[in-house]
Every structure is written in C-alpha cells, then in structure tokens.
Symmetry: D3
Subunit: 132 residues, 6 copies
C-alpha cells in the first residue's frame, strides 16, 4: 500500500458548547496544521499515486473555504461543535468529494482511502480516516 501526504494549515476562530469544554466554551481560535494522506495499492504509469503538486493545490483550495473565519458562523457546521475531530471529518469528506469529482485526475480512481489529521498544537492532534 502506498500513501502520499501533503501538509498545509488553516487559522480559525470558534467556540465549543458543552460543560466538558471548560474555558474552550469561550470564543477562541486555533491554527490547524493539516495533513491530508491519500492511500492506494498501485501507482500509475508515471510512478505516482497522486501528483503531490496537485494534491497540495486541492487541499489548499479546500482549506481556503475555512481559513480566516469564525466557524461558529459557518452554516456547514450549524448545530455542531467544531471540535478538532469534527473539522478533520469535514475536511476528509470534502476532500473525498473532490477526489471523486476528478480533482486529482485518474489517480483518484486508484485511491482506497483518505486520512486527514489536524494538529491543534505541538501536543494534541486528531485524525479522521475514511474510504474513497
């Protein structure tokens, strides 16, 4: 199995509802350093699983929708807490949609799964893995 990962980041504000979150119930924010991993069993005739340049662009375009925003006001997350886990899932789902829509070209058809990891600090991170 091959895996290719590209890294980017996004800077957002948000607040979290629920006593479990303690002071994180207040409006605050995070830099998420985002790793998007694509996995599949075979390479194409060029010897690539996915084009790293293209994967980087796809991830960057997708994160631009979230970047420099207050996630509390993003309709896509209405009624849901934008925890690191939830945002990782949303990024992975959107990435899967784009891959299936052809954003990575034919390479997308050979991919078996995607994993998105959001590093919220140097000491905590969360991932969501899903099939493609």
């Amino acid at each position: 199995m091959f895996t290719v990962t590209v890294r980017d980041h996004v800077m957002v504000a948000h607040s979290l509802r629920g006593e479990v979150f303690g002071p994180a119930q207040r409006l605050h924010g995070a830099t998420y350093v985002v790793d998007a991993s694509f996995a599949g069993p075979t390479l194409d005739r060029n010897g690539i699983l996915v084009d790293i340049g293209r994967a980087t662009e796809v991830l960057h375009a997708l994160l631009a929708e979230l970047n420099y925003r207050n996630l509390d006001e993003d309709p896509a997350f209405a009624g849901r807490n934008t925890t690191t886990e939830t945002v990782a899932e949303a990024v992975a789902d959107r990435l899967a949609d784009r891959v299936r829509a052809g954003a990575l070209g034919d390479a997308g058809r050979r991919l078996a799964k995607v994993v998105v990891t959001l590093h919220e600090s140097h000491v905590a991170w969360a991932s969501y893995e899903r099939p493609l």
Copy 2:
C-alpha cells in the same frame, strides 16, 4: 475512524541486560516523548472522541508513576528489560486499564484501540497498539 493523540514526556534511568544491547547494558537513561492515541468509530453528542484536556491529564498522571525514576528498581518491570517497546506496552496497558475504569468518562466505551508511541530520540521510536 477517528483518532485523538496527546503528547507528554517522561525522563527515566535504566539498564538493559543482554549482549545485544552493547553499551546500553550500562546504567543510562532516556527522555521518552510519549504520544497516546485513542481510536474509535464515532463521536459523542459534543462532537468529541475523547476530551483532549482529560486525556492529557490521564496520560500525565500515568507517566508520573514512571517519571524521574530508575526503571531497574521498579517492581512492575522486575525480570524484564525496560526496552522502548516494553515501556510502550506497559504505558498502553495502564492507559487501557484507566480508560476501562472510566478515566475518560463515557467516551471510553466508544474507543476501539489505543496506540502508545515512545520517541527515545529524534531518530528512533517504538509503538504498541492494542484493542480496548
């Protein structure tokens, strides 16, 4: 599948018995930078797999039992070499015990596995993965 990881560290002395260890048979020590990963298929109604703050506290409390100690004198490791692999397993097992005892609250019931990685330097690390 969701995964949440928190990082802490522990500083211990130990020696290793067996010719394979060469100079590491002498009493020496290590900083283990410890990553504890919790994995499970679903989030709770708050949108979390585990509370990152709580997971950090659980890991910290568990590592405090080992921190600033000579593992050669720790009865828990009597008769065993405290290799990075062995200590990773011990930390993972203790973490599993605490999760099952409710240390992470209801979240613990949704968890499927735990992975503990001990970085012994910038160029070597070892993990132990086990079901919960």
Copy 3:
C-alpha cells in the same frame, strides 16, 4: 552565555485591522506555540540558569491570561492589532515583569534577556527579544 527555553501554547481568537491583512481582517484565530528563552552569563550554585520546572509554571500561568480568549476584547490590547509580533512583545514584557518580581527566585537577577517566540504555524513565527 547560557540560554534556557521552555515551550507551551495558547489558543486565541482575534481579527486584524488594516487592508494589509486581507482576509485576516475577519475574525479568525490561532494556536501560538510559545517558546520563552531566558539568557544569562552564569549558573547558580545548583548549576542552573533558571529552574526549568518553575519557568514552565511561570509561562503557563502567564499564558492562561490569554488562553481560550478573543484578543479583540482584551483591554490590554485595546487600540492595537494583536499581530504575532505584538503578542510576542506582550508575553515577553509580562514575563520580564514576573521575573523582576521574583517569580523565578534569585535566578532572575542573573538573567540578561528574554526572548519570546510565537509559532503561528509550521511555516511562520515571530519573536521579541528584550533585556531584563
């Protein structure tokens, strides 16, 4: 010259005023991974420049004032943009105040300067260095 550095982090929301900031004029946020460095020419009789544990606690307590907050509403920054540079300066100034007030004990008297670095992502960071 000796230098001791400790690392912690803080998660804040803020917006930046001025066309130069483009989309960062919107309310967003950041995780700042914060490195506080203390420098001085000599060690005390224990062989330390500053007690790393104590320095960690002082930094943590100081960052707690900022953590999980919207800096746009923090009177300390009223009328000023909370750029990474500005927040680094504020953290360094507060750290200097605490050191002079004895938070690091006698060690504080031997210190010559403090440097605070805020990493806003894996690809950008800012520092402020000042004498003590």
Copy 4:
C-alpha cells in the same frame, strides 16, 4: 502489535519524465528523510522487536547505495520514474530482502511488515507498506 522506527536520510539527484511533473522534469534533487518501521506481534526474550542499533545500521547501509547519486543513472530504476513513492517502495523491498536474509537476526522472523516513509520536504512525504 509492536512497531519500531528508525530515521536516516539520503541526498539524490533525479529528473521525472511526464508532463504531469512540470518543472520537476528538469534535473533537480531531494533530501529524503527516511523512516523505516518494522512491525510484529511479539518481542523476543530480551524484550525487543528489533535491535534499534542494528536496524539503524541496516537502513544506513542500504541508503548508502543511493546516497550522493543521480538516480537517473541507477540501473535499478531504469525505465522508471524515481518518484518519492517509487523510491519508498524500492527501499522497503530492499529492506525486506535484507531482513529475510538475516540482517536483523532472529528478530526478522517475528516481523509482519515494514513501512518506509520518505519525507521529501516539511510539507510532503510518501510511504510504502508491505508484508515481510
């Protein structure tokens, strides 16, 4: 399951054939920071999965075959693009050959798989995972 990983690096020149590679069709180069992970279900009587020192030496010897070379002239890659994915696969295959030939001693028999990750920069990396 236990996993042990060791890190080294290799510096190579190469060019990539195919329009998809854009400017990377020109002769250029890369530092690959290489992580070799060995996984297996049990430890030996010394408490190790593999000897970290020995694994480090095996990886280093293997990378020496590639280090400071132009991969375009390496017969092992004739007719193939030396993408990060392809080189990761080649390193994993060679590592598997050496393990089966006894380079890691008896430990090699307990290993179930090997994963080789090549970091081509701080923002992109590729892995190849294979059974042993």
Copy 5:
C-alpha cells in the same frame, strides 16, 4: 528587537568540487527547507514588522529561480561550490536586494538584518546573517 520568520523549500541538484566532499563530489541533490528571518527594532502602525503573507510570497518567488534546477548549470554560481553555506548566502543577498527594492514595502526600511537558514536534512543546517 523583533524577528519574523517564514519557511519554504527548494529542491535542487548539484555536485561539489574538492576532495573534502568525498562522495558529495558526485552529482546528487538536496531539499533545502529554507527559513528567512527578518529582524528590526520597531513595528509599523499596523503592529507588524513585515507582512507575513508578503514575506512568504517574496521568499517563494526568489526560491522559484532555484527550484527544480541543477545548480551546477546556474551561471550565478559559476566557479563556486554550491554548498549549503553558499546557497544560504545567495538567498540572503537576493532577499536583501528585493527588500531594498521595496518588495516588502515601507516595512523594509525598518529592517536591520536578514538571516537565511537552509536545512539540508533533519541533522544538518547552515545559516547566513547579514545587515540590511
């Protein structure tokens, strides 16, 4: 004193002339992870030393001149070894030229020095620091 640093990378081929270089006399390559630091004593009215976005673009444009190339064929380095030190100096000099030409706007006038660090691997890096 304030310092702002932005990070990017460049992938090049080259060879080094001189017995001291041993196997690095062969054509090989490197990924240089490049940190460009700008230092100055004061912030502008927006609270910035330099615009991080703009500094990132300036560095990226400058590195594009080197990226995906064989430095042995670059006239700018004719007759000189493209060691990590030499390339760091060249990047710093070009950056200084651009800053003086206004690439960072008025902010450039407040800058006192620039430091460029090229990481050639996880275990070796070189810097060049110069006044502005």
Copy 6:
C-alpha cells in the same frame, strides 16, 4: 556571519542534588538531542565554513564519551550537578578544545564561536555559547 549546525543525541542517567530539583533528585535519565553550531565570518576556498561530515564525526566522537553512562559517576562532573545547562557547557568546552586541536582542520581557525544546545524534551532545552 555563517553558522553550520549538526545534530546528534546522547542517552544518560543522572540525579540532581538540591531541593529545587524536587523529584529530579532521584536517579533518572535523559535523552539529550544535541545541536552543535559553529559560527564564523568567512568560508574557505571550497565554499564551506566547516565540513558538515567532519563536524558530525567530531560531535559523535565527543558524545560517545558520555553516551550510555551514569553522569553521577563521571569524574568530569564530580561535585557538580549535571543539569542541562552544565552538560551543554561541557560539550561546548570539549568541542572548542577539539576544534583548537585541529579536529576540523584549517576551518577551525576561521570559527568565531560555538553554540551547543541540548534538548531534554520537546518542551525544554538549554544552550551554551562561547567564543573559539
């Protein structure tokens, strides 16, 4: 000014005397990830400040004297606490001795200073800088 840095590591046991150290008064240990930086104003005719390969070997040989040892029993530290600061100073002093003795060849004469940084964990490190 040019600076070249090479990284290695060392694993030691030790205990610290003095109430300020709390639990670190017990026998424990540390991995120190060691960065040795050499600085000087000019490059030689080969375009190098120091030979990175040779600097790596010199550092490695020097650290071998400390590696896999209990510093409490090392006569070189008799009567002194082996704090991170103290060990950084010792490594820097030994490195300076070797440089002056010609370990880095003629390059050593052009060097102005050396800085040694010991990372005791991912959240704490200490440096010692001295002239050459």
